[in-house]
């Protein structure tokens, strides 16, 4: 169980007293005592601004942690401020979905549009390690054409950098994180070397997909996973134990097998002198008269504190990063902060099998196919990949309720066959669209800050891709012997809300992650992607993170010499 303090923090990030819109109800509720205590920020004097550090990093997820380590290793004085708590996974992480709810970013976000995005356990985490605490740890590389969507299709955006800029970082990451995968990997350009560890074993769903795809002539391969298939050692990090196939990656890995940031880049950063402060929620970014960032103000255990810095790295994720910029009216000249919001089409398809699947065992993302990267019969731009999925029972049950609308005896009967159920899903590209964006709403959260409202509607390209994917997956699951097939429409990951580009006219940061508007502000997280990519994002976010740090360090060196 999380300790007392973490539970308290959990309470703090939740909207304790939601604003009531209905006037009658507001009156009714006013007579009631407040439900829980919200710690009030104290007007304590802020520490004197003597303690300036070289860099402050906001957020310790896929975007923040790698660059934190890189900057510390270069000898800079760096402090990371992380809104969530620091966990002790071995002691605290239960193999239980409800008990692990503290891993998610549970502050309420408002989901608007025709296909409202679900957040919380479907989308974002908090704590030292960020969303990598609960990612599934799929770590495919992009293919080169992913970065040139506009050139290839005339829609979407090209990246201001190419595959060759990322490849060395992919290689470095694969070896540092200890990625388990097939060597050679069947898709994409040839590589300098293979994965450091052999693939993880296939579970039931992966075997079903493999069997069916073989019949249909679709190539598959064990996936690349950032979970170590054998004990693994890295300098500065130490030994990590092998994955025990407990299938709980999305609710936190309790044995350190999964390469979340808290067991990789964070210890590496700390070994090199970085300071990581947990439970620090940044609310303000302070500037001088020239508009340069001078420091940040944050809340820790109900106290308001300040940390001054020479350079700020904003890595709070694709919702909180634009939210902080909008709150602080910072870096807004392009008009693109919060816009170009994309979400990966993540359609899932489920079926029931005669065989025993027991979908709670094994790494959830066992098998992959990238044969649909550029389907020959596509009527859409971009492409998608196919993955088998394992699933935890509560997640599955809630999807059955929402997606199939089953209830009563029918719901209980259907879930009786949980052990015979297996699924596959896609992850595909998404195009930016004017209707999909993030804004600050009038509704306040428990900190008194406006809740973000996120608009999302699948446009024609996403609809066509989902339709194509449904046909493909249905064929596969029928060939695998599934009955009672149904689909669960879903979008995954929030992307693109502070995109990078060549010019400050239509982008927020340049190819190095540096803000066009503010020279000492860098952004690195899922918000800087100019296009969504047809692969899971985390490995590419980490690659950009290392690259952002390197470009920053090179620039510092040039300035100093």
């Amino acid at each position: 169980m999380p300790d007392e303090e973490e539970l308290l923090e959990e309470g703090v990030v939740s909207p304790v007293q939601p604003d009531i819109q209905d006037p009658l109800l507001r009156k009714l509720l006013k007579d009631e005592p407040a439900a829980a205590d919200t710690p009030q920020p104290q007007p304590a004097p802020l520490p004197e601004p003597g303690d300036e550090v070289d860099c402050v990093v906001i957020g310790t997820g896929a975007g923040g942690a790698p660059l934190l380590a890189r900057l510390a290793m270069a000898g800079l004085k760096v402090v990371a401020l992380e809104a969530g708590p620091r966990h002790a996974p071995r002691r605290d992480f239960a193999t239980d979905e409800q008990a692990q709810a503290f891993l998610f970013w549970n502050d309420e976000r408002l989901s608007a549009g025709k296909d409202p995005l679900s957040f919380g356990n479907n989308n974002s985490g908090t704590g030292v390690g960020g969303s990598t605490l609960h990612y599934t740890a799929y770590t495919p590389r992009v293919q080169p054409d992913d970065l040139r969507l506009r050139t290839e299709f005339g829609v979407g955006q090209d990246w201001p950098l190419g595959y060759d800029d990322l490849a060395p970082y992919y290689d470095e990451l694969e070896w540092l994180l200890g990625i388990s995968g097939p060597s050679p990997y069947p898709w994409g350009p040839a590589r300098q070397r293979g994965y450091p560890l052999p693939p993880l074993p296939l579970n039931g769903a992966a075997q079903l997909m493999q069997r069916a795809c073989e019949k249909l002539g679709i190539r598959t391969s064990p996936a690349a996973n950032a979970a170590v298939s054998a004990r693994y050692y890295q300098e500065g990090i130490g030994w990590r134990e092998a994955c025990t196939n407990r299938g709980f990656c999305q609710a936190g890995c309790s044995n350190g097998a999964k390469a979340s940031m808290d067991v990789t880049f964070i210890p590496l950063a700390e070994a090199h002198g970085a300071e990581v402060r947990a439970d620090c929620f940044v609310t303000e970014i302070e500037r001088d008269a020239q508009g340069r960032v001078t420091g940040v103000v944050y809340q820790q255990h109900g106290q308001t504190r300040r940390q001054r810095c020479r350079t700020l790295f904003l890595c709070a994720g694709a919702v909180e990063t634009p939210r902080l910029l909008l709150l602080n009216k910072l870096a807004l000249s392009s008009g693109h902060v919060g816009r170009n919001l994309m979400a990966h089409p993540g359609l899932q398809l489920w079926g029931t099998f005669d065989e025993m699947v027991r979908p709670y065992k094994g790494i959830p993302g066992g098998l992959i196919s990238e044969d649909t990267h550029r389907p020959r019969d596509a009527d859409f731009a971009g492409g998608y990949l196919l993955q088998s999925i394992g699933v935890m029972p509560v997640t599955f049950a809630s999807q059955v309720a929402r997606g199939r609308g089953l209830w009563g005896a029918g719901l209980r009967e259907y879930l009786q066959q949980y052990n015979h159920v297996a699924g596959i899903n896609i992850l595909g590209d998404c195009l930016p669209h004017a209707d999909n964006y993030l804004e600050l709403s009038d509704e306040k959260d428990s900190r008194g800050l406006p809740k973000p409202r996120v608009y999302f509607t699948n446009q024609e390209n996403e609809q066509r891709m989902n339709a194509h994917a449904e046909r493909t997956m249905r064929r596969i699951w029928e060939a695998a012997g599934a009955r009672d097939i149904w689909t669960f429409p879903r979008s995954a990951h929030v992307i693109g809300t502070c995109r990078m580009g060549r010019s400050g006219d239509d982008a927020v940061v340049d190819a190095d992650g540096r803000c066009f508007d503010v020279p000492n502000l860098y952004i690195c997280d899922n918000s800087v992607f100019p296009s969504a990519l047809s692969v899971n994002p985390a490995l590419t976010i980490m690659a950009l993170s290392l690259r952002t740090a390197d470009r920053f360090l090179e620039q510092q060196q040039r300035r100093d010499s």
Binding site: M1, S14, G247, S254, R358, R412, E443
Partner: protein, 197 residues
């Protein structure tokens, strides 16, 4: 019953379950009777009647898994799960309006309170809410299908988080120590229960 009763309780006593996992599940098994803190007594009874249709438990006449308790407790504490349909008012308001709407619909369709209706009539009311066709002006303030989806999802999550419901579907993922080694199709480890027909 497709899986033998008692599997999960037995596993909780075994070394296959970690301390943190055992603590979480045991707490749910041992939960004392709950007194509502957020809803008034009438609304709480109504919520109970609704949950009994969403996840009927005729097989547990004495000890049904208490779903209204979890909902009341969450609304009381103000905990959120990270998001909300923009089409719905904040959770507390949505629940009061939605439950009020169910009561209105029951009156309009059958001339009686929801709790006094026969099971089939209750189902007819809930079907109308799910389909967005339920009568009543409260539904002008709260989107009926979205409210129903949220209520159903929350009740379902509470139900399947309970060790006995997990036992019912043959889930024993909580017993993951020291490791799962037999993970392929039609393979089973000794501690995993077999289906009984």
């Amino acid at each position: 019953m497709k899986y033998p009763p008692g599997t999960v309780r037995a596993l909780l006593e075994s070394p296959h379950v970690s301390e943190a996992t055992r603590a979480a599940l045991q707490e749910r098994l041992d939960a004392p009777p709950y007194q509502p803190q957020f809803f008034d007594a009438d609304t709480y009874r109504l919520l109970g009647a609704v949950c009994a249709r969403l996840l009927p438990q005729p097989d547990r006449p004495a000890g049904a898994i208490d779903l209204p308790a979890g909902i009341d407790e969450r609304l009381h504490s103000g905990k959120a799960d990270g998001w909300r349909y923009d089409a719905l008012p904040p959770d507390r308001e949505a629940y009061r309006l939605g439950l009020g709407g169910i009561q209105q619909a029951a009156q309009a369709q059958f001339g009686r309170e929801f709790a006094a209706l026969a099971a089939a009539e209750q189902d007819a009311v809930l079907q109308a809410v799910q389909a967005g066709t339920a009568p009543g002006d409260l539904w002008l303030k709260v989107d009926a299908p979205r409210f129903f989806e949220e209520l159903l999802a929350e009740a379902t999550i509470l139900y399947y988080s309970h060790p006995l419901a997990q036992e019912e579907i043959g889930y024993v993922g909580m017993a993951d120590l020291p490791a799962w080694t037999r993970i392929g199709l039609d393979t089973r480890e000794d501690r995993e229960p077999e289906e009984v027909n």
